[in-house]
């Protein structure tokens, strides 16, 4: 089956691409680490996707993410709009979407018609982003796949009060030096991150279901920490990393 549109989410950490089928379904997708030469990477990856799905050359391309303006596309749209569109396509209802990406976190209120009613983003620093987690996992020498098991095994969370990535890193070094167990610190790191993102969500109405997208949503530990912080269930959207690219493809189909 060939695609009717392609979506590109050229993020700061990963490059995501989807091929959209005529019924609005994802018929193929790819997630690869982002390369600095985003234009070239996009050309190569899109060619592969087109070939694999027999999608015609002239199928429209929607682009989002920080590299959106560097990509040859029919439309360049912000991640905020694309994530909202992708999420609405998945859920069909109004809600609050928390998107935690590599470079920024966004809390978006999606209206009943699927449009962006309101949004807030982290300030211009790494607090509350995937990068925060990445740096601290590196310092704790823990791989992404080990996170759920370790957090699950923690007896209690060791408090990490800094939300600033640089300060949190030195705090974690001190905690490790004091002999605090890694699972407990890891749980504390997740709580710290969740509390930062919950502050963003705090200014938006809370009487709506909460969804989550972005690469960070792949980790159960983060979803649980956020859910606890918000005091309500958080539903992870299917293929959370692809929601932005899906929204971009939907915008041009």
């Amino acid at each position: 089956m060939s695609g009717v549109a392609l979506g590109v989410d050229a993020g700061s950490t990963t490059w995501k691409g989807v091929v959209l089928g005529s019924a609005g379904e994802i018929i193929d997708s790819v997630v690869v680490p982002a390369e600095p030469l985003v234009e070239q990477q996009t050309r190569v990856e899109l060619a592969k996707l087109r070939e694999a799905t027999h999608t015609p050359e002239d199928a429209p391309v929607g682009a989002t993410g920080y590299g959106r303006k560097r990509v040859r596309a029919d439309r360049a749209i912000t991640e905020i709009t694309c994530h909202a569109r992708g999420a609405f396509h998945r859920t069909g209802k109004a809600g609050v979407l928390v998107d935690m990406g590599g470079q920024d976190s966004k809390v978006i209120r999606i209206g009943v018609d699927g449009t962006v009613a309101d949004f807030s983003m982290n300030d211009k620093c790494a607090a509350g982003t995937g990068r925060f987690l990445e740096v601290l996992l590196g310092r704790l020498k823990v791989g992404w796949d080990q996170v759920p098991g370790l957090v699950g095994s923690a007896e209690s969370a060791v408090s990490v009060s800094s939300t600033c990535t640089v300060f949190a890193e030195s705090e974690v070094i001190s905690l490790m030096a004091e002999g605090e167990p890694v699972p407990g610190i890891l749980k504390g790191v997740h709580q710290s991150l969740a509390s930062r993102v919950a502050t963003l969500a705090g200014i938006l109405p809370v009487d709506l279901p909460v969804f989550m997208s972005g690469g960070v949503a792949l980790g159960r530990a983060m979803v649980d920490a956020l859910s606890k912080e918000l005091g309500r269930p958080v539903t992870v959207l299917p293929e959370p990393q692809l929601v932005g690219a899906l929204g971009a493809a939907l915008s041009v189909r």
Partner: protein
């Protein structure tokens, strides 16, 4: 003294006008370069040339002012009419700092201030100004040394400490006008106005001593009349943007504010705004807009992001958004409502107490709702300015209340009016773009 005075008068009446004429002639000979065909903006305002001439002459005269006439460095919200009566040449460090901001000089100047211990958390205007003084640098050639420093707390408390530092540096007197904050009422209390009036009278005594001149009642009335007239003319210029399309943009307004801030109370300021008003009216008649296609109209709250004006105005215009009104530029027009040129001292006590930053959030909300209605805006951009805390505090509440009471969608944009190190262009643009997309 006599030589300096002669130099000053020559520059003011002969050299300055001659240089401007020469520049104008050069421009005419070179031919006017029109805007790019794909520019999203309407034809540029013809008045911009006159504005440049006026401000250039002001700074040029400044170079020769000290030693020739008394010089005061004053805050933007200072009742300068009183000083003008005594013939003071006024320098506006905020206005000058904004000029440095546009030219992206803040980092260099601020570094000099930070090196001697001023915190980066301090207002970037203060850092730009103090840094410039320490480096003895300015893009305008030379700033005259002050004989008097004059600050009014109606815009913030920072000015008090900033000007005390300047007073210590220049070893000259500092006069302070303290304006009690107006909250919970539409009008400031009578005893508050009396308190301000008493200070204004004290100011006159100090200014007379510093300048060695005596104030004349007749001259004070004349300056007050000119100031009132200029304020009203500025208001009329802004009000032309209630038309669709607005004949200019809010960004144009940020630059055209120069004369009403720095030359208020002078005949040249008013002549300029008369000229600008004629042009704006003509554009309205001909349906010429500040941007080529005005689809959405926005209100701007807070100071501009001086170093990013071009980029932001282009991004907005390309997406058919025009800023048609700003609370910042409106502040100098709003003052007119409480001015009475026949009673200059009481008028100054009242109007300078009631400036936007000296009034509570309810008044701010009232003002913004009114402006939003008058200018028929579709949304608002609230610049959360790291350097201007009094302007930025409460914006989260204002944003919620604007949506709740006036149905106006707003974006909080975190930036700084002068320090580009405190701003992330990519993130700022993404937010702005997403905000614009939400209107589609």
């Amino acid at each position: 003294m006599i030589t300096r005075r002669l130099q000053y008068e020559l520059i003011k009446h002969v050299g300055g006008p001659f240089l401007m004429e020469l520049q104008g002639l050069q421009k005419r000979l070179k031919g006017r370069r029109g805007p790019r065909p794909d520019s999203p903006f309407g034809p540029p305002l013809e008045s911009i040339g006159k504005l440049k001439d006026l401000m250039t002459r002001h700074y040029l005269e400044g170079r020769y002012a000290d030693g020739a006439v008394p010089v005061a460095w004053v805050t933007s919200g200072f009742p300068v009419e009183l000083l003008r009566t005594l013939g003071f040449h006024s320098v506006y460090p905020e206005n000058h700092a904004a000029l440095c901001g546009v030219q992206r000089l803040c980092s260099e100047y601020s570094d000099a201030a930070e090196k001697v211990g001023y915190s980066r958390s301090l207002c970037s205007y203060a850092r730009t100004d103090i840094g410039g003084v320490l480096l003895d640098k300015t893009p305008v050639g030379r700033l005259p040394r002050p004989d008097l420093l004059a600050c009014c707390t109606n815009i913030c408390q920072t000015v008090l400490y900033w000007y005390r530092c300047l007073a210590d540096h220049f070893k000259v007197p500092l006069v302070l006008i303290d304006t009690p904050y107006v909250y919970g009422a539409k009008d400031s209390a009578e005893h508050h106005q009396q308190y301000v009036k008493d200070q204004l009278e004290e100011l006159m005594a100090v200014a007379e001593r510093v300048s060695g001149r005596r104030a004349s009642e007749e001259r004070l009335l004349e300056v007050a009349r000119l100031s009132y007239e200029g304020t009203m003319l500025w208001g009329e210029c802004l009000a032309e943007s209630t038309h669709r399309p607005a004949p200019w943009t809010g960004f144009d307004g940020f630059f055209h504010i120069g004369p009403i801030v720095a030359l208020r109370g002078g005949a040249e300021c008013n002549a300029y705004y008369r000229h600008l008003l004629d042009e704006l009216r003509d554009r309205v008649r001909r349906g010429v807009g500040g941007i080529k296609e005005e689809r959405y109209r926005l209100l701007w709250d807070n100071l501009p992001i001086w170093f990013n004006v071009r980029e932001m105005s282009t991004l907005l215009a390309e997406n058919r958004f025009n800023i048609v009104v700003t609370t910042y530029t409106n502040a100098w027009a709003e003052a007119g409502k409480r001015m009475d040129p026949t009673d200059p001292i009481n008028s100054a006590a009242r109007s300078y107490t009631h400036v936007i930053l000296n009034e509570d959030l309810d008044r701010r909300l009232e003002l913004m709702s009114r402006l939003a209605g008058d200018y028929q805006v579709d949304g608002a951009l609230l610049h959360s300015d790291r350097s201007c805390k009094p302007y930025s505090i409460g914006q989260v509440d204002l944003r919620d209340k604007l949506a709740e009471r006036a149905g106006i969608k707003s974006l909080l944009l975190e930036a700084d009016h002068n320090d580009l190190r405190a701003y992330s262009t990519e993130q700022g643009n993404t937010r702005l773009q997403a905000f614009m997309e939400s209107f589609a």
